[in-house]
Symmetry: C2
Subunit: 305 residues, 2 copies
């Protein structure tokens, strides 16, 4: 089954201790699509400026991403420029130019409106709500958000939470949204607002999935070289939603496995700049990493004394 | 089989957001013993001052901890006073009075010298080396250390690493010791110094065990209330060594399970002040938590699509 994603399609310029990249493909919608497309057909809705090198998006359409919802508007494309220092845990934003993204009003094409799986990437919660008004009873809706919206659009975000099945956010955002420093309490608070699945991502420290009755944890893959952390969270979301859409199942076991797919795709994304590593992957490489995740946490229930 | 631990026996005064405790049982040897004694007989070597309320240690001897190696010296006992703020991740030391601990020279009683499992808790690496000169070919020797020794006794610590099978240290210490920010690289560096098992504890973010051929990860148990983090690391070590000593096996599967026992015992330790929670435990409670650890990370290898 296909997954619809509404998010940014940007040009990133990134500096890490290992190198530099200028005006490469970026944005939450882009990373999500590159990741999820390994698992299921993807429909992308976003906006680019008249300066966007749209031929570069061909790598996505070649992977089965339907770009007919990517609008081209007059003006500059969304550009982000950031730098990572040695710890690689937090980006320092050097410049954000929203360009045409600042006036983005998502219009979901007719042929996308019945998408069974919908991911509302990190955009204004008012726009996330607008998307939900345009789609027809999806089977699963998940959203992301960020500190900026938690501060400036709190009431809209709380309204959104009433209408989504799942939210994926990082630990800092969860603490900020809930004013709870303990993540178990934070997750419980969010579950009380509407979503029945709360995924709290802790970057290199892994990710928790909380439901009313269970807690699941997947570690981050212990990489020796994290090249560029940009897009890890959106790639995680792509793996999570992509796996669920592919299987069409939403029980606990499939959701746990979806979190591991998310962790695997996030771990690939950080191995190169932009979506470069995601584009190189094949089924066997993804399966091999899943296997490594299994071995990473496997221990036997009982052993002879 | 029994485990010998050489470490501090202290009096702690701790303030957390949830309460205060004055002059309660503390020290690495104490936490380790309280934890490991649930799994195997423990022999404790340490020193207390003439002011130590030794009757309080009866809770340990009642649990099968042999205290005949705890020397009583003239002078004040080791006292630590610390405070945890809301995030509970790092202790603020308000006062350290080493007292008789500053002149401690561990003397391993005759009857302890053949202990098959030896844990060198966080003391001066010169003393850790002195302990090793007094014991007879243990089956497994593990050590802990801290930032202070990494700075002030680096060459002794590197010498010690040649003679231990395992080291348990936290992520900050691993980075400081190896000057590698990446933990996989840090672990590899330490493995190159001698130990064949490197356990890097990340507090609330879980623990890694690295060997030359494998990586294992155990999450920290997601507690809703962390009451007092003091002693979590030593309780982890107690669970790890205690499980190995109980089973007498050192293969990969037993070591993985030992790390989970360590995580479980660490998660109990932080639920109350001092060793109070560790003293309340019984076999069923420990087994139940092991089971929760298993469920926390369990996912099926393959599912029907």
């Amino acid at each position: 089954m296909s997954v619809l994603v509404v998010g940014s399609v940007a040009l990133d310029s990134v500096e890490t201790p290992f190198g530099k990249a200028e005006d490469v493909l970026g944005g939450s919608g882009t990373f999500f699509s590159a990741s999820a497309s390994h698992l299921t057909p993807v429909q992308l809705v976003g906006v680019v400026g008249s300066d966007y090198p749209t031929h570069k998006l061909e790598s996505l359409s070649a992977r089965g991403v339907d770009l007919s919802g990517v609008e081209r508007a007059d003006g500059e494309s969304f550009r982000w420029r950031g730098r990572y220092r040695h710890d690689l845990n937090s980006a320092e934003t050097l410049e954000t130019r929203l360009g045409v993204f600042s006036h983005f009003r998502p219009k979901i094409p007719e042929q996308f409106r019945s998408a069974p799986y919908v991911f509302l990437a990190n955009i204004d919660p008012r726009l996330q709500l607008e998307v939900l008004r345009q789609v027809e009873r999806p089977k699963l809706v998940a959203c992301d958000t960020m500190n900026f919206w938690i501060e400036s659009r709190r009431s809209d975000l709380l309204e959104l939470l009433k209408h989504v099945d799942a939210i994926l956010l990082n630990d800092g955002e969860a603490r900020q949204l809930t004013e709870q420093s303990n993540l178990v309490r934070a997750a419980r608070w969010i579950l009380g607002q509407g979503p029945r699945i709360v995924i709290i991502k802790k970057g290199e420290h892994g990710a928790f999935m909380f439901t009313a009755h269970s807690v699941f944890f997947a570690p981050a893959y212990p990489l020796e070289d994290v090249f560029d952390p940009t897009g890890a969270g959106d790639s995680f979301a792509g793996g999570f939603m992509g796996y669920l859409a592919r299987t069409g199942k939403l029980d606990e076991e499939h959701m746990r496995r979806a979190v591991v797919y998310g962790s695997a795709m996030g771990s690939f994304a950080v191995e190169k700049f932009s979506i470069d590593r995601l584009l190189e992957l094949d089924h066997d490489m993804i399966r091999a990493r899943l296997d490594e995740f299994r071995r990473l946490v496997a221990f036997q229930e009982e052993l002879p004394a």
